[in-house]
Structure formats: structure tokens, C-alpha cells
């Protein structure tokens, strides 16, 4: 009997070891938002509706306020610019991975939504479900070592009518893009500081300060502009990027299905090839 108890205790100890190792500090459940919390959201600036990027200004910004690439990086940018001008654009987004930050804000051709809820602001893009930013506004500090991701870890707070955001932990492979054909991987250690605010009742500005020590000579201050639309025709719709990689077909029972398109170096080939 005593042996059994000893074995049971040992088994519990063995199980408790890994479990204890998985216990995280400061992981207490967050209290549910209260009516006061929701009222605070209602008092925020009204950023409802659909925000359409001003694409012509994206290009103009690059011309008038160029990215301060390091000289050796500028040579790469020149190469990709020449490739595009020669009709051989480098398709930064062809793999359907997210733009990531800051390119999501810098070069998107699709509309976004900005959704405030208690303790958080969520930015949703139209291209794919993976164009999404979660900006925590619940007073938390930036974690010491968050897992790197395409959009990074964002912590924000409100300064009056301005949402102030800091973003870190962006994957080093994520581009700083100036177009859909020209961009350079940030290389890691990038920090993005943003001030998001209305310029007028229907114009939202993202003022970005991009600090990328591996590729930029200095922090790059730039602005991107989005115009509000409230029509139903402008509501965000689903945009699954990889849908174009599939043919519509039928299975042996006649059910409509998707089948992978045969591709060679990105070129779609006939089925069965």
C-alpha cells in the first residue's frame, strides 16, 4: 500500500513538472468589460465605416519622402526598380503571405476597417483573413520578448483623439515595401511608432516612424492616408488570396470542389499536365 502511494506521488510529481513549466506569470483572466468600458469606447473618435487607401498618395510619398535606405540596400532597391521598369516585376505578394507591418499600411490597395472594443483596437484588411492587426489598449506594457509575427506585437494608448501605437517583434523576412514589386526584408529589430488620427472628419492618417537599423540609415517618418466610405457597396468583403491558385471542378459525385491548379514557375498550366 505504501509502495502504491509512493508510486502515485511520483507519478503526480512527474506530471506536475511539465505543467508547472507551462504556467505563465501574469496570466490571470481579464475581467469582462463593463458598461463603463463600453461607454469609454463610445467616447472615442468615430472611425467607423470603410477606409479606402489613397493610392496615388502612396506613390507620391515615395517620390517626395523616399525611404532612407542604407547605401548597400539602395543598390538592391535600384535593381528591383530596374526589373519592374523592364517588365519583370518582383511579386512581393505572390506567395499570398500577409503584407505584414509596415507594408500593410504603406502599400495596401485594399480597404481596411478599424474596430475599437474595450482594451483593444483591431484593424482588418480586405485581402485575406490574415490582414489583421490587434492593438492592445488595455494598459499593458510591451512584453519583453513576444513571438515574432508578420504584424508584430502592438501596444497602444489614446492621447486625446490620437491612437499612439508601438509595434515590435516583426519577422525579419517581412518587407519594407514601397510598391508591390519593390521591397526589402526589414532584417529584424524593427520598431514602428504610429500616431493614427483624423485629418478631417472623413480622412484618417497613419503617421508612421519606422526604425529598421539593418536597412535604414535613420528612422523613416512617413504618412499614409485613407478616405472614409459609408456606402454598402464599400463594405469589406472576403478576399481569399489563394483562391486564384485553384480551378473550379467537380468530384466524382458531381459535387463542386476546388482542385489545385497545376503551376510551373508560377504559371498556371492545363489540368492533367
Amino acid at each position: 500500500m505504501q509502495d502504491s502511494a509512493t508510486l502515485a506521488a511520483l507519478a503526480l510529481l512527474l506530471m506536475a513538472g511539465p505543467l508547472a513549466a507551462q504556467t505563465r506569470p501574469n496570466d490571470a483572466p481579464k475581467p469582462a468589460p463593463t458598461a463603463k468600458d463600453w461607454a469609454a469606447v463610445a467616447a472615442l473618435p468615430d472611425w467607423s465605416g470603410t477606409w479606402v487607401p489613397l493610392m496615388s498618395d502612396q506613390s507620391a510619398q515615395i517620390q517626395t519622402n523616399p525611404t532612407p535606405w542604407k547605401p548597400e540596400i539602395q543598390k538592391q532597391v535600384d535593381f528591383w526598380n530596374a526589373e519592374e521598369e523592364a517588365g519583370r516585376p518582383n511579386g512581393l505578394l505572390l506567395n499570398c503571405l500577409p503584407h505584414g507591418m509596415p507594408s500593410f499600411m504603406l502599400i495596401t490597395h485594399n480597404a481596411i476597417e478599424v474596430l475599437p472594443t474595450p482594451g483593444r483596437v483591431t484593424i482588418l484588411g480586405e485581402s485575406d483573413g490574415n490582414r489583421i492587426r490587434r492593438i492592445w489598449t488595455d494598459g499593458r506594457a510591451m512584453p519583453d520578448d513576444p513571438d515574432p509575427s508578420f504584424h508584430g506585437y502592438s501596444v497602444g494608448h489614446w492621447e486625446g483623439k490620437i491612437l499612439v501605437v508601438k509595434t515590435k517583434a516583426i519577422l525579419p523576412q517581412v518587407y519594407i515595401a514601397v510598391s508591390e514589386a519593390v521591397g526589402i526584408p526589414n532584417g529584424g529589430d524593427m520598431v514602428i511608432d504610429e500616431r493614427i488620427h483624423l485629418l478631417d472628419p472623413e480622412t484618417l492618417a497613419f503617421d508612421l516612424m519606422i526604425t529598421a537599423p539593418h536597412v535604414l540609415t535613420r528612422p523613416w517618418q512617413t504618412r499614409r492616408i485613407f478616405h472614409r466610405r459609408r456606402q454598402r457597396s464599400h463594405e469589406i468583403v472576403e478576399g481569399v488570396c489563394r483562391q486564384g491558385d485553384f480551378f473550379e471542378a467537380k468530384d466524382k459525385w458531381g459535387n463542386p470542389i476546388f482542385v489545385p491548379a497545376t503551376q510551373e514557375n508560377g504559371n498556371v498550366l492545363p489540368p492533367g499536365k
Binding site: L94, N110, V240, P270
Partner: protein, 135 residues
């Protein structure tokens, strides 16, 4: 690359894929620069719609011009909806005139500029052209 369609569905898929192949001097599947199209050249394709693929990330229009299928690439369904298009704006069999910037490599593909329907209605879709006009 011989391919023998075995049934109607295969024919449809062949049409789709050949058109996609024609357009595929560069990867055709995802959002990208339109630099593979020659912005300094304009062609008008007068023909019959064989397929209108309302798919992300780019909508494709396939037009038969005297027995040759041309693939024409547009922006996304979401962006087209914002400027008044629907997935039913054209259908196979419709007679159309489509103005395109052709592929630089001479293959039968192009970037969409505008389309005139049989009733004379002109549809545009280039976002830069329409920017600020949708409100």
C-alpha cells in the same frame, strides 16, 4: 503539352487554363505589380466573353477574338464592387470591346483598361483612374 478534353467540364477548364496560360508570362495567381503589361500600348479586343471569373485576388475576363482566347486581368472583386461592378456584369456569350494594355511578351493577355458592352455602356475599373470618384 497536348491535352484532350474528355467532357464539357474539361472543356471549360481547358479554356480557363489556356487563357490563364496565355496571361502567365508572370505568375498570375496573386496581387502584384502590373508592370508585365505595357502601359504605353493599348489594344482593343473585339470578341465574345467565354468566362468571367469573379475570384480573388484578381478577377479574370476571358474573351474569344476570332478563335483566340485572350486573358484580361482586373483588380479584386472587393475593389470592383466599390466602383459599381457585380459578378453578373458580363456573362459568357456577351459581345464586348475590351481595351487592354497588352503583355510585353506578346502573349494573348492584358491588363484591363475599360470595356464597352453591347448596349454601349462603358465600364472602367482602374483604381488610380477612379480614385476619389466613388463617394
Amino acid at each position: 503539352m497536348s491535352f484532350r478534353p474528355a467532357n464539357k467540364e474539361a472543356c471549360v477548364r481547358l479554356t480557363w487554363s489556356l487563357a490563364a496560360l496565355a496571361i502567365a508570362a508572370q505568375p498570375a495567381a496573386a496581387h502584384h505589380s502590373f508592370a508585365m503589361f505595357d502601359a504605353n500600348k493599348t489594344l482593343t479586343l473585339k470578341g465574345t466573353v467565354t468566362q468571367f471569373s469573379w475570384t480573388n485576388p484578381h478577377v479574370y475576363l476571358f474573351v474569344d477574338v476570332d478563335g483566340t482566347t485572350w486573358g484580361v486581368e482586373l483588380t479584386s472583386p472587393g475593389n470592383l464592387t466599390k466602383v459599381g461592378w457585380t459578378r453578373n456584369v458580363v456573362k459568357p456569350g456577351d459581345k464586348v470591346e475590351v481595351e487592354v494594355n497588352p503583355l510585353r511578351d506578346g502573349k494573348h493577355g492584358g491588363g484591363f483598361r475599360q470595356m464597352t458592352l453591347a448596349n454601349g455602356q462603358v465600364l472602367r475599373a482602374r483604381l488610380f483612374d477612379l480614385e476619389g470618384k466613388a463617394s
